[in-house]
């Protein structure tokens, strides 16, 4: 009887088959988690490929996987791509890029929504980065520029400009941004009141806590929890009439007052342009990680009206 049972189990386990191999160049695109704003990077990437004549299903095959926030799944996705010998890897957000670097030393990796290798701490002793890392990166300079718009537009109620901010202890980018902002604040005679939010469930309470501190404005540094919980922050700030500044265009669309920073769609697009250069030539000699090219000054006209703020001409109103 046991033997019979074992046969059934074995039969059930062997009834699986792998998918047939496609002859088109395969592009493995991996997202670390689900997010509406971050997803625009993929749209940008695919659009850039299409613009350069690489159309999914026609002459290339884009295989898209999302780890849904699970690190073991992320590892498996990249193992899968490596085993399928994809032509190139496209990684969106830092964790996906990091995992890709550790899983493959040969397949070109085109990163997006990721900081510089130095900020990711993947430079070796001689300052060299993995030779297969390409794509588009960002350093912390964007913070200087996005921060500087606050003191120019908002007058403090009394004394120093009081800026509220939440940050995510679980994200290097977020922690480093806070450190940077604290040094900037001294320069602009501002005071940063920061509190950590490590999961979007804490956002409500922490935002309320900050809003009790007599703020002049709020700085939403775009990290994963801010992306996830932005509506919570927005609702609470609106109730107290505190404008939100940020450094990401998508959050202005969602109701922040103004931003000076990268556009996630164009970030992905830029990485896509670089990837299509590789697809055309098959060579990586002329490629290296590039800085984000397009940074925009944008504001939300409806929100600006609410706070009675007129923006200088170099700011673009968002539709």
């Amino acid at each position: 009887m046991r033997f019979y049972k074992l046969l059934i189990v074995l039969f059930a386990l062997t009834g699986c088959n792998s998918t047939p191999k496609s002859t088109l160049p395969q592009i493995g695109f991996v997202d670390a988690f689900e997010d509406a704003t971050i997803a625009q990077a993929k749209t940008g990437f695919v659009d850039a490929l299409a613009k350069n004549g690489f159309i999914d299903g026609k002459n290339i095959n884009i295989v898209y996987k999302n780890a849904q926030g699970s690190i073991p799944t992320l590892g498996q996705i990249l193992d899968y791509f490596v085993s399928q010998k994809v032509t190139l890897l496209a990684t969106s957000t830092t964790l996906a890029t990091l995992t890709a670097i550790q899983k493959s030393k040969t397949i070109p990796i085109f990163m997006m929504i990721s900081p510089t290798p130095k900020l990711m701490k993947i430079e070796d002793k001689d300052g060299l980065i993995p030779s297969n890392l390409f794509g588009v990166m960002e350093n912390l300079n964007y913070i200087d520029t996005s921060f500087s718009i606050m003191p120019t537009l908002i007058k403090p109620k009394s004394g120093k400009l009081r800026i509220g901010m939440v940050y995510n202890q679980a994200e290097p980018q977020s922690v480093e941004a806070l450190a940077r902002i604290n040094t900037l604040a001294a320069k602009y005679n501002a005071l940063i009141i920061a509190a950590p939010v490590n999961s979007s469930a804490d956002a409500q309470m922490v935002t309320q806590f900050l809003l009790d501190k007599n703020l002049d404005c709020f700085f939403a540094n775009p990290d994963n929890t801010v992306f996830a919980a932005f509506e919570t922050i927005l609702k609470n700030c609106n109730q107290k009439n505190i404008p939100i500044f940020t450094s990401e265009v998508g959050l202005v669309k969602r109701g922040a007052l103004a931003a000076f920073g990268a556009d996630i769609y164009l970030w992905g697009y830029q990485a896509g342009v670089q990837a299509s250069m590789y697809l055309k030539s098959g060579e990586t000699q002329n490629l290296k990680p590039e800085m984000v090219k397009v940074r925009k000054r944008v504001y939300n006209p409806q929100v600006a009206k609410k706070y009675g703020i007129t923006f200088p001409l170099n700011f673009e109103a968002i539709k």
Partner: protein
Amino acid sequence: MDFYLSAILQGLCLSAMAFGIFISMKIFNIPDISTDGTYTLGGVISGFYISQSYNGFAIVGLVILGGALAGAITGIIHTKLKVNALLAGILVMTALYSINLSILGQSNLPLLNFDILFTVINLFQNPTYNTFLIVFTIILILLMSLTYVLKSDFGLAMRATGNNQIMIRALGVNTDTMKIIGLAIANSLTALSGYLMTLLQGFADINMGIGIVIVGLGSVMMGETLINFFNIKNITIVLLIVILGAIVFQLVLAFALSLGINPNLLKLITAAFVLLIVGLPRFISNKAE
């Protein structure tokens, strides 16, 4: 084939944690939630000390010690302060988040020379095979030592604590001590799992343990289905099936990925697959009777 081997490898790394969950299930009858924290603890301890170029054996020692300490604290909170076992686990897990963050100093630490352990043996050209051999050996050693411990008088008393506390106390065994030691063993195994995974993935991350207890629990439950189906009593085979459960759990994900299903449905498909594996044997045996 490499891909499935990687999935099996990941399963093997996680099977150390499945052992831990198995032990805590045996002595508590409920899963130990501090697993989420101790798994990350193992990861961050190894991440930090590898980046400081410590000796490999010293790191393993520290990982085991850290896990055991965390487990013992869960046990002490539960037995001495009479806190509900689930809550004790939750408290330790929550506290460990801060401790892990302090140890790591940052939320994510990539390791440049991370394959210190997996390059010890170089029998094959393919590094995956070498890694597999090493992880396999480690798990085998764990399996043998656990079998030894669980078969000893001490181990029997520990297992019986979960079955019938009152009877065991009547036999003159201190059940509190049993629970504390048991949880220390369980959590050192979990920390070891975090250590192996950190080496495998090449970075330590503060979030790496979130929800990992579910993976361990899933593996053990899947194993239990087989254990009940075949009515297995031998502890060696039981532990082997726990390993199998951890591997199958990862293989399910691997199949789901290679089938190219819509990423939005990944978790649904994983759940459905596991349900199929767990449900089918029962369904068949019901039919047979």
